[in-house]
C-alpha cells in the first residue's frame, strides 16, 4: 500500500479523502492556494504544500504546480477528488510519466468518455440504451415523418445550429412532425442561416438517475446501484438519494448491467458514474459517464456500506475488488442535501464572508436514522468567492425513505449557519414538499414548484401551534429568570403568570395557558386543545430541542423584544409572547409598512464606495452605472434599474456602508 497520498483538491472532498486515507494508515498531503491557507483540509492533512494564488487557474488546476508538490512531498499516489484536474487526461498522463499512481481511471477512458459524441458511439456499441434519434440530414417533411415514426413519438425536431428554444418543436404525431419540420426549418434558416434539422426522442417526465460503477485492474467491474439526482437547480444538483424511489429491480438491473458493460468497453478502472435520463415509463437513455468520484457518492456508501474512496485507492494500488455483484445489496435509504452558500431569498445569489457560526448536527444516530456530514469549512472560516459555493453535504440514512426524510428535517433544523446566506431553509422546504415526499419528481421539480424563486415557508396551523406552544414554554423560563435579578424589593417580587398570548408569524394571536411542572409544560389553547412541551432550553441557547406531544421540534432561536425569532422547517418568523394586557395594547400599535425603496439605490452588501458616477439632478438611463462599491476586494458596479433623475447622492468615495444603506435617491 502507498505510504503517502496527495489530494489535488480542496474543500469537503479533500477532507473526505483525507479521512479514509488516515483510516487506512496512509499519510496525506494537502495542496492549498493563498485563499485556503487556513482551510480545513490544510489543517487535517499531515502536510500541506502551497501552490499559488487563489484563482484555480493559477493553482489547483495547474498541472506543473501539482507535480511539483508531489515531488517535494514524496507522495506516491494522487487522488484528484472531483472537478479541477479529476477528468483531465493530461494530468493522468503526467502522473503516468512520473510513475505516480493516479487514483482514478486510465487516461484512455477519461478521453473517450470526455467527448459527448465519442462516448455516445461507444455506449451504443456496448449495447447501452441511448436517446434514439437521427443525426443525418433530413431532406423533406416526408422523410421527417418517416424517421419520427421509426423513433417513436413524442419526438423533438431541432435545428442543428439551434439554441434558446429557436427552431425547436415537439411532435406527438405525424401531422405535428410534418408541420414541425417545416416551421423549424424556416425558423432555423431565418435565425441562424443554417436550416439543417435533426430529430431525436423527446423524453417526457425526465428523471436524472445514475449508476455507480467500480472496476479494478483485473477485469472485474460491478455496479453499486443507482442514485436519483432529479432535484436540480439550473443543472446544479441539490438533493440526491439512493436508491431511487422510481426504479424497480428489473430496471435497476438492466441499467446496472449496461453501465458495467460500458465500463468494460472502455477498460475502465476505479470508481465512475454512468448518468441516465429516465422517462415516465422507465425507459432509460445514456447521457454521459463521469470518470471520477461524484459529489453525491456518500448516499451510495450509506446504502452499500462500501467506502468508495478506499476502494479507489486499493484499485489504484492494483488490488482486486473484494466483492462480486451478488454481494452488493441495497440496505435502507440515504438522502443527501447539498448546503450551498447561496441566499435563497435573493434568487440564490452566491454569498461570501465569514462563518460567524457553523454548527452542523452531530454525526451519528438521530431519531430512527444516522447523520453524516461531509464538510470542508469550520466556524470562523471564510467562504471566499474563488471556489464552488458548496460548503457541506448533509446525508442521512435510515431503514426507510420516510425515516431518512424525517431525519433530514431534524438534521437541517439542527444545522446552524450564520454570517453568510445559505440554502438551509430551501432544503427544509424541499424535504416537506408533497411531491418530493411521494417520490414523484422530475428534473423540472424546482423550476415548476418554485417558478418565482423561494420566499420561505409558511407553516400550517398545526405546525404553528406547536411552535407557539414551545415558545410560550420557553418564554416562561426566560421571564422567570428575569425575576431573579438581584436588588429586588423583598416580598414585592414579580410573579410570572400562566396566561399568555402568542402571536406566531403575524397571524391572529392565540391566548393560551402555560402550566409548568417538573417534566415540562402543558400549554392549553382557547379551544381546549392542549400540547405537552418538554425540552431543556435555557435563555441564550441558539437551538431549542423541544418535544411537543412527544414529537421532536427543533427551533433556531434569536431573542427579540417580547419574543423570539424562530427558524424551523424552512420558515423564518417572529413569535411574540405577551401577557394578555400587553397583547391588548400591542394590538393598538399601528402597522408600519416597509418604506418604499423603489426610488432609492440601496447598498446591496457591506462595502466601501470607491466611485460615484452621477450627481444630483442628472438624468440616468436604464443600465447606466451609478456608482462602484468595493466589497471583499471585489468592485461591484451598481446600475440604474430604470430611467430616472437623481435627486440626491448620500454617499461619496471612501464611505463605508452597511447593507441597505441609501446611496442615492431618485425623483
Amino acid at each position: 500500500m502507498f505510504d503517502k497520498i496527495l489530494i489535488a483538491n480542496r474543500g469537503e472532498i479533500a477532507c473526505r479523502v483525507i479521512k479514509t486515507a488516515r483510516k487506512m494508515g496512509i499519510r496525506t498531503v494537502a495542496v492549498y492556494s493563498d485563499a485556503d491557507k487556513q482551510a480545513l483540509h490544510v489543517q487535517m492533512a499531515d502536510e500541506a504544500v502551497h501552490i499559488g494564488p487563489p484563482q484555480a487557474n493559477q493553482s489547483y488546476i495547474v498541472i506543473d504546480k501539482i507535480m511539483a508538490a508531489i515531488r517535494s512531498s514524496g507522495a506516491q499516489a494522487v487522488h484528484p477528488g472531483y472537478g479541477f484536474l479529476s477528468e483531465n487526461p493530461k494530468f493522468a498522463e503526467a502522473l503516468e510519466a512520473a510513475g505516480i499512481a493516479f487514483v482514478g481511471p486510465p487516461k484512455g477512458a477519461i478521453e473517450s468518455m470526455g467527448d459527448k459524441i465519442t462516448s455516445k458511439k461507444i455506449a451504443q456499441e456496448a449495447g447501452v440504451s441511448t436517446v434514439p434519434g437521427y443525426m443525418g440530414l433530413i431532406e423533406d417533411a416526408d422523410e421527417a415523418v418517416k424517421i419520427s415514426g421509426e423513433i417513436g413519438y413524442p419526438v423533438m425536431i431541432k435545428a442543428s445550429a439551434g439554441g434558446g428554444g429557436k427552431g425547436m418543436r415537439i411532435a406527438w404525431n405525424d401531422q405535428e412532425a410534418r408541420e414541425g419540420f417545416q416551421s423549424s426549418k424556416n425558423e432555423a434558416a431565418n435565425s441562424f442561416g443554417d436550416d439543417r434539422i435533426f430529430i431525436e426522442k423527446f423524453v417526457t417526465q425526465p428523471r436524472h438517475i445514475e449508476i455507480q460503477v467500480l472496476a479494478d485492474q483485473h477485469g472485474n467491474a460491478v455496479y453499486l446501484h443507482e442514485r436519483e439526482c432529479s432535484i436540480q437547480r439550473r443543472n446544479q444538483k441539490v438533493v440526491e438519494e439512493a436508491p431511487s424511489p422510481f426504479l424497480d429491480p428489473e430496471t435497476r438491473k438492466a441499467m446496472g448491467e449496461q453501465a458495467v458493460a460500458l465500463a468494460k468497453a472502455v477498460g475502465y478502472t476505479s470508481a465512475g458514474t454512468v448518468e441516465f435520463i429516465v422517462d415516465g415509463d422507465k425507459n432509460f437513455y445514456f447521457l454521459e459517464m463521469n470518470t471520477r468520484l461524484q459529489v453525491e457518492h456518500p448516499v451510495t456508501e450509506l446504502i452499500t456500506g462500501i467506502d468508495l474512496v478506499e476502494q479507489m485507492i486499493r484499485v489504484a494500488n492494483g488490488e482486486a475488488l473484494p466483492f462480486a455483484q451478488d454481494d452488493l445489496k441495497i440496505n435502507g435509504w440515504a438522502i443527501e442535501n447539498r448546503l450551498y452558500a447561496e441566499d435563497p431569498y435573493r434568487n440564490f445569489l452566491p454569498s461570501i464572508g465569514r462563518l460567524t457560526r457553523y454548527r452542523p448536527p452531530a454525526e451519528g444516530a438521530l431519531g430512527d436514522g444516522v447523520v453524516r456530514n461531509d464538510t470542508g469549512v469550520y466556524e470562523g472560516g471564510e467562504i471566499s468567492m474563488y471556489y464552488d459555493p458548496m460548503i457541506a453535504k448533509l446525508c442521512t440514512w435510515a431503514p426507510t425513505r420516510a425515516q431518512a426524510i424525517e431525519a433530514q428535517r431534524l438534521a437541517l433544523d439542527t444545522f446552524e449557519v450564520e454570517g453568510i446566506g445559505h440554502n438551509l431553509p430551501f432544503l427544509s422546504a424541499v424535504m416537506d414538499h408533497p411531491k418530493f415526499v411521494s417520490g414523484d419528481m422530475t428534473t423540472a421539480f424546482i423550476a415548476e414548484e418554485y417558478p418565482d424563486g423561494f420566499s420561505g415557508v409558511a407553516l400550517d396551523e398545526p405546525a404553528r401551534r406547536r411552535v407557539a406552544a414551545a415558545c410560550a414554554a420557553m418564554n416562561r423560563v426566560a421571564e422567570i429568570r428575569r425575576t431573579r435579578v438581584s436588588g429586588r424589593l423583598d416580598n414585592h417580587e414579580r410573579r410570572v403568570g400562566e396566561n399568555w398570548v402568542v402571536q406566531a408569524g403575524g397571524e391572529v394571536p392565540w391566548p393560551l395557558v402555560v402550566k409548568a411542572d417538573h417534566g415540562g409544560s402543558t400549554v392549553t389553547f382557547e379551544d381546549g386543545a392542549a400540547l405537552r412541551v418538554e425540552g431543556d432550553w435555557t435563555p441564550g441557547d441558539s437551538l431549542a430541542r423541544m418535544r411537543v406531544d412527544g414529537v421532536p421540534l427543533v427551533l433556531k432561536v434569536d431573542k427579540i423584544t417580547q419574543g423570539f425569532r424562530i427558524r424551523t422547517r424552512g420558515a423564518d418568523m417572529k413569535v411574540h409572547v405577551r401577557s394578555p394586557r400587553q397583547a391588548e395594547l400591542a394590538a393598538l400599535m399601528p402597522e408600519k409598512l416597509p418604506p418604499d425603496t423603489s426610488k432609492l439605490l440601496l447598498c446591496p452588501m457591506p462595502g466601501m464606495i470607491v466611485k460615484v458616477d452621477v450627481e444630483a439632478g442628472q438624468e440616468v438611463q436604464e443600465g447606466q452605472a451609478l456608482c462602484t462599491v468595493e466589497a471583499m476586494k471585489m468592485e461591484n458596479i451598481l446600475r440604474a434599474e430604470r430611467r430616472g433623475v437623481v435627486s440626491r447622492v448620500n454617499a461619496g468615495p471612501g464611505d463605508s456602508l452597511a447593507v441597505d444603506d441609501v446611496i442615492m435617491e431618485f425623483e
Binding site: 457560526r357 470562523g380 429568570r481 435579578v485 414585592h492 441564550g540 417580547q562 400587553q582 399601528p590 408600519k592
Partner: protein
C-alpha cells in the same frame, strides 16, 4: 361611610379616564398609548402605586378655573420592574395636552425627591405640548424646579427618559440632563425651536420629523440613545435596560442567574482578525462571543458607528463595553466617537459598572474638519473619562493600538487594571510606513530602502511583546479564551477600592 367610599371610587375613575374617551381614542389613532397604559407596560403587573391622583392646578387666568382635571396632565408614582423599585412619571397628552403647570411640575419633583432619598431610578415618559401658557412664569418655574432635580439626581440614581410624543422648547432640557433618552419612531420629536420658528428666523423649511424625529436624534445629533418601532416595544426595551442598571450609586450593579459557561472557548475568535491588516472585521462578533448568552444592549447604535458602546453581562453581572469598530472608518477615533464613548464611560463610573474596552484603533482622524471642530478637546473627554474612572477596568487589544489613541483607549497608564493583548496586537506610535518615513527621512528617495526599514519597524513593533516586556500589557492571551480571561479578571476585581483625591468636582473639558 359607604357613600364616602363610593365617592372615592367615583373620583378615582374620573381621574383614570384622563382627558376622556374621545381624547384617548385620538391618542390611540396617533399610534400612541395613554399615560396610564404606558405605565402598565413599563412596570410589573399591578405594581404601580400612584400618588397625587387628585392634584389639580390653581390657575384662574383665562378661564382656567373652569377646567381643573384630576392629575393635571401627569401620572406619577412608583412600581417595580422585575421586582426592583423604580419611580415613574408619565405625561398625559389627553389632559390639557400634557402641558406643564406649576402643580404638574410639583408632582414630578415630588417623586424625584423620593427617588433620590430612597435610592431608585426615575423613568420619565414625555408626551407634552410644552409649558402651560395660561400660567406664564409659574410654568417656567416648574420646569426650573425639575431641571434642578435632574441635576442633583445625576450620578445618584439612573434617570431614563422616554420621548413618546412632542417634547419641544425648554421641555427638552429635562430629558437632556438624564442618563438615557429613547424615542419612538414616527410619533415623537424633540427640538428647542419648532419648524415654524425656524422658518421665520432662518427661512429654512423643515418638517418636525426632519428637525427632531427619532432618526435625526439617533443618527445626526446623538441626542437620543436609541429609538424603537412603537410604544410597546420601547417600554419593553426600557425594562430590559433597567435589568442592567443598579438602582442607585449606593448599590452594586445587579447580578442575575445566567445560563452560560464562563470557560466557554470560542475557537472561531482565533480567525477573527484577518491576516491582511488592512481588512476590517466586525468587533460586535467579539462582544457577542464574550458576553453571557450573547446578550448585548447597545447604546447609541446608530451614531458614530466607529465606536461601539453598550452593556453585557459576565457571570450574570453588568459590564459596560466600549469598543472600536474596525468595520467603520477603520475604527478611528474622532470627535463623535470620543464624545459618545466618554459619556458612556462616565455613566458606568457613576454607577459602579465595570468597563471592558476592546481596542483596535489606528489613531485619531486627521483633517481640518476635525481640528476646526475641536478634536483636541473632544478627544480629551474620553481620555479624561477613562483616567478618572475608578471602576474595574479590563482592556483587550485585538489589533492596532497606535499613538495617542493607544493611551486613550483604557491603557495601563490610565489605571486600567488588567490589560490583555491578542497575539495579533500591534502597539506602536504609528503604522510602520508612517514611522519609517519619519525615522528614515534621509532614505525617502529610495523605495527599496524605505521598504526594508518599514519591514524592520514592523518586525520590531507590530506585535504585543514590546509592550508586554514593559508590563504595559499584563498578558498576551489566545483569542479563543478571551471570555474566560476577561470574566476571571472582573471576578478578581470585584472588591476593587480606588478613590480619587477630594475635590469639589473635576473640570473635564466639556
Amino acid at each position: 361611610m359607604k357613600d364616602i367610599l363610593e365617592e372615592l371610587q367615583a373620583r378615582r375613575e374620573n381621574a383614570r379616564l384622563g382627558g376622556g374617551e374621545t381624547r384617548i381614542a385620538a391618542q390611540h389613532a396617533r399610534g400612541k398609548l395613554t399615560a396610564r397604559e404606558r405605565i402598565e407596560l413599563l412596570l410589573d403587573e399591578d405594581s404601580f402605586e400612584e400618588y397625587d391622583t387628585f392634584v389639580a392646578h390653581r390657575c384662574t387666568d383665562f378661564g382656567m378655573q373652569g377646567n381643573r382635571p384630576y392629575g393635571d396632565g401627569v401620572v406619577t408614582g412608583w412600581g417595580t420592574i422585575n421586582g426592583r423599585m423604580v419611580y415613574v412619571f408619565s405625561q398625559d397628552f389627553t389632559v390639557l395636552g400634557g402641558s406643564v403647570s406649576a402643580t404638574h411640575a410639583a408632582k414630578i419633583c415630588k417623586i424625584m425627591d423620593m427617588a433620590m432619598q430612597n435610592g431608585a431610578p426615575v423613568i420619565g415618559i414625555n408626551d407634552s405640548g410644552g409649558a402651560r401658557i395660561q400660567e406664564g412664569v409659574d410654568s417656567l418655574a416648574g420646569y426650573g424646579e425639575v431641571f434642578q432635580r435632574n441635576i442633583m439626581a445625576s450620578g445618584v440614581v439612573p434617570q431614563i427618559s422616554l420621548i413618546m410624543g412632542p417634547c419641544a422648547g425648554g421641555a427638552v432640557y429635562s430629558p437632556a440632563m438624564t442618563d438615557f433618552i429613547f424615542m419612538v419612531k414616527d410619533s415623537s420629536y424633540m427640538f428647542v425651536t419648532g419648524p415654524d420658528v425656524v422658518k421665520t428666523v432662518t427661512n429654512e423649511q423643515v418638517t418636525a420629523e426632519e428637525l427632531g424625529g427619532a432618526s435625526t436624534h439617533t443618527r445626526k445629533s446623538s441626542v437620543a440613545d436609541g429609538a424603537f418601532e412603537n410604544d410597546v416595544e420601547a417600554l419593553a426595551e426600557v425594562r430590559r435596560l433597567v435589568d442592567f442598571l443598579p438602582l442607585s450609586n449606593r448599590e452594586k450593579p445587579p447580578v442575575r442567574p445566567f445560563f452560560d459557561d464562563v470557560d466557554r472557548v470560542e475557537t472561531s475568535l482565533d480567525t477573527l482578525v484577518p491576516e491582511n491588516p488592512n481588512l476590517p472585521y466586525d468587533m460586535k462578533e467579539l462582544i457577542l462571543k464574550v458576553a453571557d448568552e450573547g446578550d448585548f444592549y447597545e447604546i447609541q447604535e446608530e451614531f458614530a458607528k466607529n465606536m461601539i458602546t453598550g452593556f453585557i453581562r459576565l457571570e450574570g453581572q453588568t459590564v459596560g463595553v466600549v469598543a472600536n469598530q474596525p468595520l467603520v472608518l477603520a475604527g478611528v477615533l474622532d470627535i463623535d466617537s470620543a464624545r459618545k464613548a466618554a459619556r458612556f464611560v462616565r455613566f458606568c463610573d457613576c454607577f459602579e459598572i465595570p468597563i471592558l474596552t476592546l481596542v483596535d484603533v489606528p489613531g485619531f482622524l486627521p483633517g481640518t474638519g476635525q481640528e476646526y471642530r475641536g478634536v483636541i478637546k473632544h478627544g480629551a473627554k474620553l481620555l479624561f473619562a477613562y483616567g478618572e474612572a475608578t471602576v474595574p477596568k479590563v482592556t483587550v487589544i485585538t489589533r492596532k493600538a497606535y499613538g495617542g489613541a493607544y493611551v486613550v483607549m483604557a491603557s495601563k497608564h490610565l489605571r486600567s487594571d488588567v490589560n490583555y493583548a491578542w497575539p495579533t496586537a500591534e502597539i506602536a506610535v504609528m503604522g510602520a510606513k508612517g514611522a519609517t518615513e519619519i525615522i528614515h527621512r534621509a532614505d525617502l528617495g529610495d523605495p527599496d530602502k524605505i521598504a526594508a526599514h518599514a519591514a524592520e519597524y514592523e518586525d520590531r513593533f507590530a506585535n504585543p511583546f514590546v509592550a508586554a516586556e514593559r508590563g504595559f500589557v499584563d498578558e498576551v492571551i489566545q483569542p479563543r479564551s478571551t471570555r474566560k480571561r476577561v470574566a476571571r479578571a472582573f471576578a478578581m476585581l470585584r472588591n476593587k477600592k480606588l478613590q480619587n483625591p477630594w475635590k469639589k468636582h473635576d473640570n473635564i473639558p466639556l
